[in-house]
């Protein structure tokens, strides 16, 4: 997987390149918007991580130019501008995700993974499946081990998002953004309760849990491994 990081701040760029390389990505770095645009149009990247405020050409303008040039490489904007409106504006400008600086590296990784998967599995599926858990997008029903499970509409969307990102960490903020379209973090742990309710429904009466809490990061829905995990 090849990534392009467009970031003018040297220290942040080094931190990003180091962290992403350690996570197994091949990373190129551009120091300003024009260089970033040039690299993005010439190389073939799986995703672009770009800063919003860049010298010579700001992130949103660069993204607009890329999209106008027909390049649809998924892009994640990193920005110090963190108000609700800023996020929404970034997303409308053609970015696929928006992360406010400073951020937890785990959050960036989780989001990048989600972004890369979205690019890959664009094929229209009507059923999602993780181990013996099955979600039918047409009939909007959930079954585990062929036993129907009653879920509320919002729980269905929550489960759908988790299943689309099965095997990967999904953060609370990601859930708020994608399932509820809330671009801020409430002070109360609203997501945790929703997730634990969902867990009650899909995991409680089964011996192998699928929905896991990842401490300090978020949640992960994954099939049980043959050997006990960790």
């Amino acid at each position: 997987m090849k990534l392009l990081v467009v970031e003018d701040d040297r220290e942040t760029a080094l931190y990003l390149v180091k962290g992403l390389s350690e996570s197994g990505y091949t990373v190129d770095r551009a120091g300003d918007g024009r260089e970033g645009f040039f690299l993005a149009t010439s190389g073939s990247y799986d995703a672009i991580v770009l800063d919003r405020m860049l010298p010579s050409m700001d992130g949103l303008a660069m993204l607009g130019a890329l999209r106008a040039a027909g390049i649809s490489t998924p892009a994640l904007i990193l920005s110090a501008l963190g108000s609700v409106d800023d996020r929404v504006k970034g997303l409308r400008a053609g970015s696929d995700d928006y992360l406010v600086k400073p951020f937890a590296f785990s959050e960036l990784l989780a989001r990048l993974e989600a972004l890369l998967r979205r690019g890959g599995t664009a094929a229209a599926t009507t059923k999602l499946r993780v181990a013996d858990l099955e979600l039918d997008l047409l009939t909007r029903t959930v079954r585990r081990r062929d036993k129907p499970i009653e879920v509320l509409p919002r729980e269905f969307r929550l489960l759908e998002y988790l299943m689309r990102n099965a095997g990967h960490v999904v953060t609370r903020t990601m859930l708020l953004e994608h399932v509820w379209d809330y671009h801020f973090d409430p002070q109360t742990n609203v997501i945790d309760v929703h997730v634990s309710r969902l867990r009650q429904k899909i995991d409680k009466s089964f011996d192998s849990p699928l929905l896991h809490t990842v401490r300090g990061a978020g949640y992960c829905l994954r099939a049980p491994e043959p050997s006990p995990p960790q």
Binding site: G82, S83, D85, V88, K89, F184, P186, Q187, V193
Partner: protein, 479 residues
């Protein structure tokens, strides 16, 4: 004297002569002076025009009257002559000259030698030519039994047989009238010009004074006295309006500056504590030595502390941005019930878990213009507060129409907020709980109020008997 007074600057009273020149130059450059000068020129020209018009119309009128009387008289005499010949003419002239008719008419008929036959003029006036035609002459005439020299307008005729006829009209009254008009108008003009000069000067001085007030206030504000305001005349004229608008602008600037200073103070006060806590933790972790079990824990808690700090910082920035009004308007017409439903749906499980009953009462067609994201955030903050400060019971979200406004209420059954504190809780970092045992940054209500201000709405805290009722009101969008 007038020039000196005109050049006297409005700002100072009589100054030392040394300054007078500079002030005069300054005055000459001012717009007010140019305006006054222009005003004076236009005023003088129009006064002159009016006076000339009055003069010419009155003088001309009298002249035309004289000519018309003369013409009528001549026509009458010509008719008499045609009917009754020379003797008839002499008779009628004698008859008309006899009585003092007071109309100022003059007659004279002479024989070929110039001896008068009839008339009220003693002799053919000197210098009046013998041939026929219109003429002006002076004569001594017997009018009202006195002999006076009068100027007259008239016409002379040669009657066949070299007899001569002079018909005239005394115009000394008309001349006197004309002279009186001339003098009156001259005085009127003089008075008008003086009044114009004084008026123009007064106007320019007044104008200059008001502009100076604005300038002086601006200078004082720039010098740092932000609370200074331009005095108003109370006449609500353009200058008052300008001053009022500038004052409003200054109010806004002062409010923003105060808000900024408050933010700075708040940041200094409320972020320093967690920052030093963070520093202490990291130092302790360093003392603990590498690999120690305490170190991982210390780093983890340091990260949590940093996250909390960032959340506080972000909230502060959002409030400042909302309050400064620099944010772009991302507004659309929203169904308030939808916003409430979505928030209720998000919070319902956590409320239930904490022992609350979250209920939602919506009304159809309650619309507001605004940002869904900001309104959701405001509502979420209110729900966070209710969950934090009430101990169970019902939390109700209500959407309703209220007197032409859209309203959203969040009520709980907790302690409520004492009436005296209901204003202060909107200030940043204010938390009523002295022990500060529940987590929070004291920015929730500040943000809600900032969001409401952005939406031209209001927020009101009331007693829910028991509990707190928060009521948000919005203007309903024009459809």
């Amino acid at each position: 004297m007038i020039a000196e007074w005109l050049l006297l600057p409005a700002r100072e009273t009589w100054t030392v002569p040394r300054h007078l020149f500079g002030n005069a130059q300054r005055l000459l450059r001012t717009h007010a002076f140019r305006l006054a000068a222009l005003y004076f020129v236009v005023f003088a020209a129009s006064v002159l025009g009016v006076l000339l018009f009055v003069y010419w119309t009155s003088a001309d009128f009298v002249e035309r009257q004289t000519e018309a009387t003369l013409d009528a008289e001549i026509t009458g005499l010509a008719e008499q002559y045609a009917q009754r010949g020379l003797s008839g003419l002499v008779q009628i002239v004698a008859a008309r000259s006899a009585g003092d008719r007071g109309d100022g008419m003059l007659y004279l008929v002479t024989d070929p030698d110039g001896r008068p036959l009839a008339g009220n003029i003693a002799a053919w006036p000197a210098g009046v030519p013998a041939h026929a035609g219109r003429l002006s002459f002076t004569t001594t005439a017997r009018i009202k039994e006195t002999i006076e020299t009068h100027s007259a307008r008239g016409a002379s005729f040669i009657i066949p047989g070299h007899y001569r006829l002079l018909v005239g009209r005394d115009i000394s009254d008309a001349t006197a009238f004309r002279n009186r008009v001339k003098i009156t108008l001259l005085w009127a003009g003089l008075v008008a010009l003086v009044v114009g000069l004084l008026g123009g000067t007064a106007m320019s001085r007044n104008l200059l004074r008001r502009v100076e007030q604005v300038n002086r206030t601006s200078e004082r504000v720039m010098a740092g006295n932000l609370s200074d305001r331009i005095p108003l005349n109370g006449t609500s004229d353009e200058f008052d309006q300008l001053a009022a608008n500038l004052n409003r602008m200054l109010d806004q600037i002062e409010r923003l500056m105060t808000a900024m200073r408050e933010v700075t103070d708040d940041v200094a006060h409320d972020l320093r504590t967690p920052l030093s806590r963070l520093r202490v933790r990291l130092e302790l972790a360093l003392l603990d030595g590498a690999g120690g079990s305490g170190q991982t824990e210390a780093i983890r808690s340091a990260i949590e502390e940093a996250d909390r700090l960032l959340a506080t910082f972000n909230a502060l920035l959002s409030i400042a941005e909302l309050e400064s009004g620099t944010r772009r308007d991302e507004s659309e017409v929203l169904d308030l019930s939808e916003v409430a439903r979505s928030a209720a749906e998000l919070y319902e499980p956590v409320a239930e878990e904490k022992g609350f009953v979250l209920s939602l009462a919506t009304a159809p067609g309650v619309r507001v213009r605004g940002s869904r994201h900001l309104l959701s955030q405001a509502l979420a903050n209110l729900l966070d507060n209710a969950l934090k400060y009430a101990d169970g019971g019902e939390i109700q979200i209500r959407v309703l129409h209220g007197e032409g406004r859209a309203a959203l209420e969040v009520t709980d059954r907790g302690q409520g907020i004492p009436e005296a504190e209901r204003e202060t809780v909107f200030n940043r970092f204010v938390r009523l709980e002295p022990s500060r045992s529940t987590p929070g940054n004291g920015l929730g209500l500040s943000l809600v109020r900032a969001v409401m201000r952005r939406h031209r709405g209001t927020i009101e805290l009331a007693d829910n008997r028991p509990g707190l009722r928060v009521r948000l009101e919005f203007p309903e969008p024009a459809t």
